[in-house]
């Protein structure tokens, strides 16, 4: 055997094998990159989640559920078409976000409710005993929910908007609280989610303030 057929064979094998360029992981500015394997590249993508992340999602599901309940009241008790339109939009986005949060928790093998939490159904204001203490930041207290459920017409619209503004501001506070927790919100999806919560709720707050001023 001469070297030539072996080289040709090697070239042939190389041509047949799926080849791809090396994968680089750069260093800090000025430093050289190193070459890593595809498995290492995938491993680098993974980030952790913390107990604070899980608690945030569990709490936010409860929080969002109240907004959906408020819109259910709006359908029968509200007067202004502009408020109803906005309310439906809020309910759609809160429901979609609740689905996402439930999936996020399920995907990570986490319970949908915090230990000791009795389930969001029980937070339905009109089904709760009267009380002054809201369950989560910004959530309407049971008493506020009862007042809302008893109102109708333009008075309802006003209470609804004021309540939903307070409610949404609470969500922003919850995100701010999470961001202030060391190590929290590293998870890519959660980080994206909190950004979208801030964007959605801020926009909706402004829109509600605007409609409120025109009522």
């Amino acid at each position: 055997m001469t070297a030539l057929p072996a080289l040709l064979l090697a070239a042939l094998i190389a041509a047949q094998a799926p080849t791809s360029p090396p994968i680089f992981q750069p260093g800090a500015p000025g430093a050289a990159a190193r070459i890593i394997t595809p498995g290492e590249a995938v491993a680098l993508s993974r980030s952790t989640f913390t107990a604070a992340d899980v608690a945030f999602m569990q709490h936010m599901i409860v929080h969002h559920a109240q907004a959906v309940e408020m819109v259910e009241l709006l359908e029968t008790r509200g007067a202004s078409p502009a408020v109803k339109l906005l309310g439906r939009r809020i309910a759609l986005s809160q429901q979609a976000e609740m689905d996402l949060m439930r999936d996020w928790l399920t995907l990570r093998g986490q319970p949908l409710e915090m230990p000791g939490m009795s389930g969001h159904d029980h937070h339905a204001g009109h089904a709760m005993p009267a009380g002054e203490t809201p369950v989560m930041p910004g959530m309407l207290s049971p008493k506020q929910m009862q007042t809302l459920a008893a109102a109708s017409g333009p008075a309802f619209d006003r209470l609804f908007l004021q309540g939903m503004i307070q409610h949404h501001q609470g969500a922003l506070d919850m995100v701010a609280g999470l961001m202030a927790t060391p190590g929290a919100a590293e998870d890519t999806l959660l980080s994206d989610f909190t950004n979208s919560v801030v964007a959605d709720q801020s926009t909706e707050i402004l829109r509600m303030q605007s409609i409120l001023s025109d009522l």
Partner: protein, 611 residues
């Protein structure tokens, strides 16, 4: 604008919109998202059902090695057994991150297509005519990885709190961490076998997107408009950053963009040179746009338009269009270091002003509304047709005026995330076309030549990743790069699409667009397209004129004969000068602005041909 007039304008906008919806109630078809052949395509990871109209899928390149993991897709378990298996896996390895390998935005330079990814970026050689060929992979986690390229420099946006200066993943923990990096990275990519990070410009709110802005005074220098959308970093981590509302803290890092200056000969020295208050009002109130809040209302003052999501600059007209969360804005960028807002627009149907694209003439802007952030199904039949849509706005005397909404005209399933996303002009002369990504709504081309009547003329779509279950996937960006549409598919890799002639687009119109070439394309840095005088360009205008029922048959036949001779290389026996005169006369009589423009452009071609 002060708060009072802002509220007044809100009331005005609401009034207009309500009367608009009353008017359109007489034509309910316009308000409903119709079901069509792409509404119920079969699902599959790499074998989903496909739909194409006006374009064909030429290549589909699967994710690069190291940039795909089935489990990294957003994939909730479907039954108890899967749930138990997943929980077991998570117990064994809690490091787990769906979306962490998502493909994102793109840029093109010297025949190489750069595709951003939440875990880094990939480069493809697209010069060979076949499928794009992977030539480099770089892993550097830290956010969605918006990329731009100038020569041998690649710029990348980093926003995630986990990101580190050294591209590592030993998560930057704690509130303050010297190793944390959030901002714009600069890589030297001159040697594909040795990419190197050469600079990392730290910013207060990280970098969600960024836009390159040429320096009119110096071709060896450029500016970057950085849009950070995250929370403000702690002062102890980055000294220039302080948080809070402007009435409490006038120096707050909210309510501005970062302007970074890069000396192309010393990119390692890139630094922030200004943080303009582009949302301020005439009285200098920093929170001059949608801040809101009134005495007696149970709320704090809420930051609203305190950030841009994306900015598109059009240096040749000296303007930038900012999609800035609560408003669309227009900036005068004649001094790029100090952009000045000249117009702003609000609309109650827009949830989140996300991105902007100018028409080639610079007389229109398409703003997109990323209602819900892109991870939800927002194109279902029951979703409003004006939410999560495009808003076509006209620019009149440097003032933005909303004209119409356009949403993907095909109801998509609850198992497909869908909302308006990134797009770019398709350079067909005589028309304003934009190709656009709609996540799992697919790729769609909108004709917005008439800003009041935008309409879809071509589309490509796939079914969901899996029937009945939403996995975040679909087209992140769809851009026209030198004759082909490149679509960055979040989960499935990279698609290349080719336009095909049909009722809505002729062979000549496609050929005229395909002839437009550029060595370097960063879609948020728009450049003016100027078409060469060719038979295809002339034919494109003629085809457009002939689509109108009232076209002058004698004139169009005369022009067609002249174009045929031109194409065949025969001498100008038909008399280009005479045709030019006839077209000019027709243009003078024409009352429709669009047809008038096409007649005038065609007359110009024949005038130059006549010499």
């Amino acid at each position: 604008m002060n708060v009072r007039s802002t509220l007044l304008s809100t009331a005005a906008v609401l009034g207009v919109l309500m009367s608009a919806s009353l008017a359109s109630a007489q034509a309910p078809a316009a308000q409903v998202i119709p079901t069509d052949a792409r509404s119920a395509l079969s699902g599959g990871m790499f074998d989903a059902g496909q739909y194409a109209s006006g374009m064909v899928l030429e290549h589909s390149v699967r994710p690069a090695p190291g940039f795909f993991e089935r489990e990294a897709l957003f994939s909730p378990p479907r039954n108890p057994a899967e749930g138990a298996a997943l929980q077991e896996r998570i117990r064994a390895d809690p490091r787990f991150a769906p979306l962490a390998l998502a493909n994102s935005d793109m840029a093109l330079s010297n025949g190489r297509l750069f595709v951003g990814n939440f875990n880094g970026f990939n480069a493809y050689d697209v010069t060979k005519g076949g499928a794009p060929e992977l030539v480099m992979s770089v892993v550097c986690p830290g956010g969605q990885g918006d990329v731009s390229v100038v020569g041998n420099l690649l710029f990348m946006s980093v926003e995630a709190n986990r990101a580190r200066l050294d591209c590592g993943t030993a998560v930057a923990e704690g509130e303050v961490n010297a190793e944390r990096f959030r901002g714009v990275r600069i890589f030297d990519i001159s040697d594909l076998n040795a990419p190197r990070q050469i600079a990392a410009v730290q910013t207060c709110r990280g970098s969600h997107t960024h836009t390159l802005v040429p320096d009119p005074a110096n071709p060896r220098s450029l500016y970057i408009y950085n849009s950070g959308t995250a929370d403000v970093r702690k002062t102890a981590e980055l000294a220039i950053c302080t948080d809070g509302q402007p009435d409490q803290n006038p120096d707050t890092a909210l309510f501005s963009i970062d302007v970074i200056k890069v000396d192309l000969d010393r990119p390692q020295d890139a630094a922030i040179v200004s943080r303009p208050r582009i949302f301020a009002d005439a009285n200098g109130r920093v929170a001059g746009l949608w801040r809101g809040g009134r005495a007696g209302i149970a709320t704090q003052n809420t930051a609203q338009t305190n950030q841009c999501h994306d900015i598109t600059v059009y240096p040749e007209i000296g303007l930038a269009a900012g999609a800035c969360s609560g408003n669309g804005i227009l900036l005068d960028i004649s001094n790029p270091e100090h952009p000045v807002r000249v117009s702003d627009i609000f609309d109650p149907d827009m949830a989140y002003w996300h991105s902007a694209t100018f028409s080639n003439a610079g007389d229109k802007v398409v703003f997109t509304d990323e209602w819900g952030g892109g991870i939800g199904a927002r194109c279902r039949a029951e979703d409003p047709s004006t939410w999560g849509a495009n808003m076509v706005a006209a620019i009149e005397n440097r003032t933005l005026r909303g004209r119409a909404f356009h949403k993907l005209p095909s109801a998509q399933g609850a198992d497909e995330n869908c909302v308006a996303h990134n797009g770019m002009i398709v350079p067909v002369p005589g028309r304003d076309l934009m190709v656009q990504a709609w996540y799992q709504g697919g790729v769609s081309i909108m004709d917005f030549t008439d800003p009041a009547k935008p309409v879809e003329i071509a589309a490509f779509d796939r079914g969901p990743i899996e029937d009945g279950k939403l996995f975040v996937a679909g087209s992140w960006s769809a851009y026209w790069f030198n004759g082909r549409i490149y679509s960055s598919e979040i989960a499935r890799g990279l698609d290349v699409l080719k336009l095909v002639p049909g009722d809505h687009l002729s062979a000549a119109e496609i050929a005229a667009a395909e002839a437009v070439r550029s060595d370097q394309i960063n879609p948020q840095t728009q450049t003016r397209v100027v078409w060469a005088d060719t038979p295809d360009v002339a034919q494109a205008y003629l085809d457009q004129l002939m689509r109108a029922p009232a076209a002058d048959a004698a004139l169009t036949a005369q022009v067609q004969a002249a174009i045929d001779e031109w194409r065949a290389g025969r001498p100008d026996s038909r008399g280009a000068a005479g045709i030019a005169a006839a077209l000019t006369a027709a243009a003078e009589k024409e009352t429709g602005a669009i047809a008038k423009g096409r007649l005038t452009a065609l007359a110009g071609i024949f005038t130059r041909r006549a010499g």
